[in-house]
């Protein structure tokens, strides 16, 4: 099986790869958002402390 055949998914490439791509994006967001919130928390807390 060639790589382009693999990508084509027997003609269903659009449906299969859109599904996998979207899942990747949503799952990544769930990891990134808490990291950003954590940084925000420390930044704000340290700022308040210095006041």
């Amino acid at each position: 099986m060639s790589f382009s055949e693999f990508l084509a998914m027997g003609g269903y490439g659009f449906y299969v790869w859109t599904s996998y791509g979207l899942t990747l994006v949503v799952l990544l967001l769930n990891i990134i958002i808490p990291v950003v919130q954590r940084k925000q928390f420390f930044r704000q807390s340290l700022k308040q402390k210095r006041k």
């Binding site: 449906y15 299969v16 859109t18 599904s19 979207l22 949503v26 799952l27 769930n30 808490p34």
Partner: protein, 254 residues
């Protein structure tokens, strides 16, 4: 009480204490990530490459490797959210409340993924993106339940009251869980019946079943990782005035 070994009781008490939970989850995180990456790698290799195409659906069926585990997770996480919500309600354990509300966005994400990948699978196979069939409709209601929980929690400033309100909403919504599960048996649905949970003889070939189970396990570990990330931030925000957070902040400053 005599039946529970002392070490289990001690572990439970330590884990229910926010600073211990915060430190412990940081320690186990790298291991969880390693297990998750291995499971996902093996599951995707098996599902997208090794497993043969379906004799009826061709390669389109490969959406199953994220669709079905996501749908399972959407139910599983809802039960975790409702049960920890009930524990928080009855015993006022702060950590249970935090686990409950931190689960909501992850559960909503998996419900969303199950619905969208189902739609992307339905279009080429059924000829339509969406039908108001019992399985699809009850899963959509699950998404609204999750969004309701997130919205209600955000709308109430006092997080103690917010947690109680959200727990009650989550517990009431449990009614929907068996409806989703049995919808394909109770009603005549366009959605296909169960192929894996027929325990006597699953009607799915083993070369397709193994990657599916690997992905299901991988998503469980993903949930653990995402839950830990979210709950640690939620815990920090709720405990911002407590001594252990203040100590940590002063250590960070140096």
């Amino acid at each position: 009480m005599f039946l529970i070994p002392d070490i289990v009781v001690r572990f439970y008490h330590r884990m229910a204490s926010p600073p211990h939970y915060y430190a412990f989850t940081k320690q186990i995180m790298p291991w969880l990530v390693v297990i998750f990456v291995l499971l996902t790698g093996a599951g995707l290799y098996g599902g997208l490459y090794l497993a043969p195409a379906d004799y009826q659906q061709g390669d389109s069926y490969r959406i199953i490797y994220i669709h079905v585990p996501s749908a399972w997770m959407s139910l599983f996480i809802y039960m975790v959210m409702a049960i920890t919500g009930a524990i928080g309600l009855v015993w006022r354990i702060k950590l249970a409340e935090v686990i409950s509300i931190s689960s909501a966005p992850i559960g909503a994400s998996f419900t969303f993924i199950a619905l969208v990948t189902g739609s992307l699978w339905g279009k080429p196979m059924w000829g339509t993106w969406w039908v108001w069939d019992a399985r699809l409709t009850s899963e959509l209601i699950l998404l609204f339940l999750y969004l309701g929980v997130i919205g209600l929690y955000g709308a109430i400033d006092d997080k103690k009251i917010a947690s109680k309100s959200v727990a009650i909403l989550a517990i009431v919504g449990v009614v929907n869980i068996p409806i989703i599960h049995y919808s394909v048996e109770w009603w005549n649905t366009l959605h296909q019946g169960p192929t894996v949970t027929k325990m006597d003889k699953p009607s799915i070939h083993v070369s397709m079943l193994i990657p599916l189970l690997l992905m299901a396990l991988s998503f469980k570990f993903y949930y653990l990782i995402a839950l830990i990330q979210r709950s640690r931030v939620e815990l920090l925000n709720r405990e911002r005035n407590s001594q252990w957070v203040k100590t940590m902040l002063s250590e960070q400053q140096q």
